[in-house]
């Protein structure tokens, strides 16, 4: 089975958040590179990111760990990570480990 994770930057939304389109499997093989790329964005001075996860098919504990590290880092830098489109198994996984309580979500048709 082809297990990929694609994350592409869409640019800045009218509210100033840099938007990413995330699709595929955020798993133990793909999540570390995903985390590294977004951490680099935070380290470069960008403080507000929004992840559109409507195409995210699979999320495991490594992917959840990446989300936690992004949330912790953004908070430490005075920034914010927001999400749209979380559903299906990724949403269930975030709910099982209670991390969903840390997730700030926007409506997907807000753009």
């Amino acid at each position: 089975m082809d297990r990929f994770l694609d994350y592409r930057e869409l640019g800045a939304a009218p509210d100033g958040f840099i938007e990413y389109l995330v699709s595929g499997d955020c798993d133990l093989y793909n999540a570390p590179a995903f985390l590294k790329a977004l951490m680099a964005r935070l380290d470069s001075g960008e403080r507000r990111l929004r992840l559109d996860c409507a195409g995210l098919r699979y999320l495991d504990s490594t992917g959840v760990g990446a989300i936690i590290k992004l949330l912790q880092t953004a908070k430490a830098k005075g920034g914010e990570i927001r999400f749209t489109g979380l559903s299906g198994t990724p949403r269930k996984v975030l709910t099982l480990c209670n991390v969903i309580s840390l997730i700030k979500e926007d409506a997907r048709d807000r753009r």
């Binding site: 495991d60 504990s61 936690i68 949330l71 912790q72 198994t89 269930k92 099982l96 209670n98 991390v99």
Partner: protein, 176 residues
């Protein structure tokens, strides 16, 4: 009134979850790059209703990953042994050749503090406690698989005395 309920990982060598009679068996070399393949192989003929759109494979993969990475050190010469029964419910026993989950007690203490922060709606503290970091944790470890597992495996999650074997059960729908 809302009550504070916290689960814990339990060690019970003689628990019925370790009775492998009638269960199917598979064993795998501890190749880190094949963890999801192993979970998919075990679930090859699993009833569709148990799969829950990939959730069962995800949760089984976490247990297999713990055995292969933390137990067997991703050494392909070491075997991961899996017993499974997919009749009426999803039941697994997974055993590695490692020294066991030596930090189980401190994990339980951490989990209690984490859930207490959640119960108090103290989300600043909960964010700090969202991931568990133990002596064997690597930079890529999520540190949260067991939090989800305790909720997901609704029929029990038990470790043996050596803490290198775990038995889990999930019931579905009204079958419980």
């Amino acid at each position: 009134m809302t009550s504070f309920v916290v689960r814990k990982l339990i060690v019970d060598e003689h628990n019925e979850l370790f009775d492998a009679q009638g269960m199917r068996y598979a064993e795998f070399p501890s190749e880190y790059g094949r963890i999801r393949d192993y979970a998919a192989a075990v679930l090859a003929d699993c009833p569709e209703a148990f799969l829950e759109d990939g959730l069962l494979e995800q949760q089984l993969s976490e247990i297999i990953k713990n055995g292969i990475k933390h137990g067997n050190g991703s050494d392909p010469a070491k075997k991961l042994r899996v017993w499974f029964d997919l009749r009426k419910r999803a039941r697994f026993i997974v055993e590695d050749e490692g020294e066991g989950f030596t930090n189980l007690d401190s994990w339980n203490d951490f989990y209690r503090r984490r859930q207490l922060a959640l119960y108090r709606q103290d989300f600043d503290e909960f964010l700090e406690l969202a991931s568990y970091r133990g002596p064997k944790s690597g930079p890529d470890d999520g540190g949260n698989s067991l939090f989800a597992a305790l909720d997901y495996w609704n029929g029990g999650m038990i470790y043996n005395a050596a803490r290198n074997k775990v038995g889990v059960v999930r019931w579905f729908g009204s079958g419980r």
